[in-house]
């Protein structure tokens, strides 16, 4: 580890390594610090990604981190009725995240970034009232490493943005409690589709998912409101015990973690600092997907950072372009999606069942895409739901 870099990236997940790759490829001196002993494991992810999002991250879909190709998605309402979502261009994939994250790290390293594992950034360094580097615990030693820009990409539990002065605090309102098994020898109706199960009874405020990684292998998981009183594990175990085709399977991995569902930051930057990925809450609040968001924001962040280093101006004034571009391209819609979630969580299971027949797959895509006018149309057309319109603020 040298004493000085252009950029220090805290966290070796996709947000960190993708940004690292793009910056290093333009000749910037980049350091990536991952606190865990292995990049990519343990996963905290259902491992799904769309084809176009994978292309944006620089891959083709032929790499060996692809576990399964996906050609569609089915949403099951509480009474079990399926709603099939329209096919997406190029479909999607279930990844082997452990391998995918390694590929991203290989490519970042190949582009010239330097990566260390078991290197924990526990504080920031300041100089003249401005962020100037990171305090790192590595190999039992404390090191001070300086850089022109620090990027916090260390996930949902990141404290670094708050140390930098940004209001990134989570509340039970802005993150879900997630739990997942990777299971083998289970029955999957259509192993090339993702299956999601809605209902406040089975998953309060969230849903249960089956993301197939093979014909009889899948990530079976749940996200719920973490102030519900019962654990995510309780709800998932209960649901699995009612599904003989899942219950008969074996558990080969257990995962858990917080899933951001809103609380977007108006500003994700300050002088010499920006935050990205789960650390910046860049996740779709309705479906909880973060990889697609990262494929967009890494591109935006890298562009702004490369320019800032070139201009020799890494002040907030320059980095603020990252905020502007991100809000324009992603944030405004995600904020609307968050508002839609706040309405949808009020809908009773029985009312979802009643409304289901008038509900199309495209409607669900539109709601996850932040199309509030579609929500208003649905509410108005269903007398039992019309009063919920008051929650759309």
């Amino acid at each position: 580890m040298d004493e000085e870099y252009d950029i220090i990236i805290v966290g070796g997940g996709p947000a960190g390594t993708l940004t690292a790759k793009m910056c290093a490829a333009k000749g910037l001196k980049v350091l990536v610090l991952e606190k865990k002993p292995e990049i990519g494991a343990p996963k905290r992810c259902a491992e799904g990604i769309g084809h176009l999002d994978l292309l944006r991250a620089g891959y083709t879909g032929k790499e060996r981190f692809i576990a399964q190709t996906i050609d569609g998605a089915i949403v099951y309402v509480p009474n079990g009725a399926p709603i099939e979502l329209p096919k997406q261009p190029g479909g999607g994939y279930i990844l082997e995240r452990k391998v995918f994250d390694k590929f991203l790290a290989y490519d970042a390293a190949k582009a010239g970034a330097k990566i260390y594992t078991k290197a924990e950034v526990f504080d920031l360094l300041w100089s003249g009232g401005k962020i100037a580097g990171a305090k790192v615990l590595y190999n039992g030693e404390q090191k001070d490493i300086y850089s022109k820009i620090i990027i916090a990409a260390d996930g949902v539990e990141s404290k670094i943005p708050r140390i930098a002065g940004l209001p990134s605090r989570n509340t039970p309102r802005t993150i879900e409690s997630g739990y997942q098994y990777e299971m083998a020898n289970i029955d999957i109706k259509d192993p090339h589709k993702i299956h999601t199960y809605l209902g406040n009874e089975i998953a309060p405020r969230g849903y249960i998912w089956i993301f197939p990684k093979g014909s009889h292998i899948a990530n079976v998981g749940i996200g719920i409101n973490g102030s519900d009183g019962k654990t995510a594990k309780y709800y998932l175990d209960k649901w699995i015990s009612s599904k003989p085709g899942i219950k008969k399977g074996s558990i080969i991995e257990e995962n858990s973690g917080g899933i951001p569902i809103g609380g977007f930051l108006e500003s994700m930057t300050t002088d010499n600092f920006l935050t990205i990925g789960d650390a910046a809450h860049q996740v779709n609040p309705i479906h909880g997907g973060g990889l697609a968001e990262t494929s967009f924001s890494a591109e935006i962040a890298a562009k702004v950072i490369i320019d800032a280093i070139k201009l020799k101006d890494t002040s907030n004034k320059t980095l603020d372009r990252y905020n502007k571009l991100w809000w324009e391209k992603r944030g405004n819609n995600l904020k609307k999606t968050e508002k839609i979630l706040h309405v949808l969580e009020k809908v009773k299971d029985s009312d979802i069942n009643l409304a289901q027949s008038s509900f199309h797959g495209q409607d669900i895509l539109d709601l996850t895409g932040g199309k509030t006018h579609k929500l208003i149309k649905i509410l108005i057309n269903n007398p039992k739901l019309a009063t919920l319109i008051k929650y759309l603020k």
């Binding site: 343990p42 924990e120 615990l137 605090r169 039970p172 409690s177 997630g178 973490g226 995962n255 858990s256």
Partner: protein, 60 residues
């Protein structure tokens, strides 16, 4: 009261770290550490933990 982590249940996912309103928790070397000076015993993490690995107990 002190916050205790049941290591037999904990998956080191840092869900509790992400929800703690006081930044009293840290995942270090794959173990959750509790800063008792910062912990306000609010129990938000106890409810949030996906596997129910946290509890408040008397300091004995």
């Amino acid at each position: 009261m002190v916050l205790k982590v049941d290591k037999n249940k904990c998956l080191s996912c840092a869900g509790c770290v992400s929800i703690c309103p006081n930044d009293a928790l840290t995942l270090r070397n794959m173990i959750i550490e509790v800063d008792e000076n910062k912990c306000s015993e609010c129990a938000i993490c106890i409810h949030f933990c996906p596997v129910g690995a946290l509890r408040l107990t008397t300091n004995l």
